[in-house]
Assembly symmetry: C2
């Protein structure tokens, strides 16, 4: 029989232990923060009826659907994001879940994109949303969650940039661009990427603005300063527009509440240039940039929307939420050496010297585990040198060793693998000795 | 525009917060135990080339594949288990991962089975394996992991039943049934389900054994007693068969090591009647039964195999592992009321009485969170009564309340929602008061 070539599909990836451990740390951090704010997890099927998913992300996303006919002749497709499934879920279970409904969803999505560096056809999304309320309190909370999330992942220097589509709409209203708002904002959204000239071109040629109107929009986007001073600058620009005034009021309340709640001023900013391309957003919008990794763009983005599930129910469901680009963040952190790539989740290896005493090696493994110290027992029959090589290749911190003589003395040799030092201790002192080394070792 | 009906595919499920929180507790318990033994996580794509998956689980499993042609004309399918992807993964990454390789994989799989009670087309598997070693130490460790896993999930009364295919093969060798071993054991595997008569029939009619041979095999399967006494009983039955003697030796070592390692005798048993249908297994085999839920069959099963990836590589990869039927276990636990179905991950709700002080409510939420107490702030504008109703519907334990008067006094009212008692405390005492109630409340 000829062998089958072991290979995976283009655009897909295997996660080996080192990268998977790092991914699990990110997922855990996100989960802990979401839960600490009372967001609950949900899950939805990977496969949905195609009609649920089609047309929700535009023609582009339809083309990227993994779509097929199942054994029962049903037209089905794999989810391409977690927002459309949330809309379907909310419409279907509204009575059971009640509002306000705060959920997080950490799950894999699939898009048949052209594979390229940093773009995959399968990746994990990490979303949280509050639905069924228009209260600005949930917009404020969304910002607090993003803030705590980045902190929990281990970042110190980051900025959550906030804006409000209502303010933008108010200014456009004052400029007589109300009816072209969507096209103008879609053009504006490209500013950071392309610079001002192509944006002006798009605004005048495709969005139908005059050159003067376009220039005024870019002036607006160029405004800089503290949130407080920007809020003052924006006041005359929104003028009498009620939409605009309401947007400003929400931003004012948001920045004041964040200060009261204890968020450092430098961690949040008002950025009137961010518009987020999606027409979907209607109020507060968020983007998050890392001081160490400005190049990768926003790592956590989101905003407020008016009506989540209008295609599935007549019940209006306003909400606000954001999404952490987990796999992209992980790839970037890895590139910068910000990820510990040890290939073992356990810091301690019990080596096996005398196979006849295997029960004792397992016994000592359990003793260490019961003390809260994750401990692997080496399970293959190999010389001690090879076992220690395995320990250092995988990134263990401590090796625990015993042969005939140690057993006779009721002792264990403890080897600090980072410092290369070792000493023998009586079994009664083993847990404390090992715990001390593990505590002293960085990061485990 | 007409609405799209929000519905999911037959055989699939949405996980609402209560059930999803329970599932996450199971996943966490499994993960912690696997890691504590040094097993590392991996992940593989949900989609593989069909040729990787086809023919690996027999004709039945091929028919159940969600298989289609992707945009690039590739014949692809969704994984139906985690063992075939492990085989492909091991063959592909052998150089990087080295041996022994201990991995866990907790992930979703898809099978287009006929939907029926307790059977779904999408479910989560929770596997762990040690590959690249024939050492009996890893068989012993597998049993320890299964034991600790059940304990960590919260079960007290359970039995891991162990057998060894070599012992069975040795006995069959002595009975002159070597060449019919696979068929005979496949018949034997049905004993618990069908009783002896259909098994004898299958052994004689399909496996080609004489009635006397079949009767002897059933006599073997009926043997009962402590592992020690059974091992003595089995000795004459395997006679001079080297395979059989080696199997007995491994079982002897396993039971002795588990006793030394501190596993209670009643938690493990030698059960010579379990054969596990799959030809795949070649040595130790495991099944796990719950004292409270004997009806659901084995909740954690596995065994030793000779060669994991023979279809993908010429490199021989022996191994041993087991799989926890996570969603099935969860469904059974739920039916028995063993699952706490609170719909909030956070025990504390800060109610919002004065929207103008929203920053203060968020501030106090952060104070409690920093003390390690998960705390939701109510984000919608509703009367206090409705907020407290929300709290009790979701299963919160504590409500923290403040209005104008409390703010003036620098105090908060703390309400124990389980006991219905409340009292006012100065802000400085808030964390301790809340922590006390949370600690006293069951299960959070």
């Amino acid at each position: 029989m000829s062998l089958i070539k072991p290979q995976i599909l283009k655009g897909f990836r295997d996660y080996l232990p080192d990268r998977m451990l790092a991914r699990e740390r990110l997922v855990d951090a996100a989960r802990e923060v979401y839960r600490s704010y009372g967001f609950s997890p949900i899950d939805t099927p990977a496969l949905e009826y195609s009609e649920i998913l089609l047309g929700k992300g535009g023609a582009e996303s339809d083309k990227q659907l993994f779509r097929f006919t199942d054994q029962g002749g049903r037209d089905v497709a794999m989810r391409f994001d977690l927002t459309v499934p949330l809309a379907r879920f909310a419409a279907q279970h509204l009575q059971e879940i009640g509002t306000p409904f705060k959920r997080y969803h950490i799950a894999t999505v699939w898009r048949a994109e052209k594979p390229q560096k940093g773009r995959f056809r399968e990746f994990m999304q990490c979303d949280f949303d509050t639905i069924g309320t228009e209260s600005n309190a949930s917009d404020i909370e969304t910002l607090l969650v993003i803030h705590d999330l980045l902190e929990a992942i281990g970042f110190d220097r980051f900025t959550v940039r906030v804006n409000n589509r209502r303010v933008l709409n108010g200014v456009l209203e004052q400029l007589g661009l109300s009816e072209r708002a969507a096209d103008v904002l879609r053009a504006l959204d490209k500013l950071a990427k392309t610079g001002p000239l192509p944006v002006i071109e798009e605004m005048t040629e495709r969005a139908g603005a005059t050159r003067e109107q376009a220039a005024r929009v870019l002036e607006l986007a160029a405004l800089q300063g503290s949130p407080q001073s920007l809020l003052r600058d924006l006041e005359p620009l929104v003028g009498a527009s009620e939409t605009g005034r309401r947007g400003l009021e929400h931003l004012r309340e948001l920045f004041a509440a964040c200060r009261t709640a204890g968020i450092a001023d430098e961690r949040i900013a008002l950025d009137v240039s961010i518009a987020r391309g999606l027409d979907y957003y209607t109020g507060t919008i968020y983007e998050t940039f890392l001081g160490q990794l400005p190049g990768i763009g926003s790592v956590c983005s989101g905003g407020r929307y008016d009506n989540l599930a209008e295609l599935f129910t007549t019940q209006r469901l306003p909400g606000v939420g954001a999404s952490l680009g987990l796999d992209r963040l992980l790839a970037a952190m890895e590139e910068l050496g910000l990820v510990d790539l040890a290939a073992t989740p356990a810091p301690v290896l019990v080596t096996v010297f005398d196979a006849g005493r295997i029960g004792d090696y397992f016994r000592i493994g359990r003793v260490l585990r019961h003390a809260g110290i994750d401990t692997e027992v080496f399970v293959d029959a190999r010389p001690l040198g090879k076992q220690l090589k395995y320990a250092s290749r995988k990134g263990f911190r401590v090796a625990v060793i015993a042969g005939e003589e140690e057993f006779a003395r009721g002792a264990w040799t403890v080897k600090d693998l980072t410092r290369g030092e070792q000493r023998e201790v009586p079994e009664a002192d083993l847990v404390e000795t090992v715990a001390e080394i593990v505590r002293a070792a960085p990061d485990k």
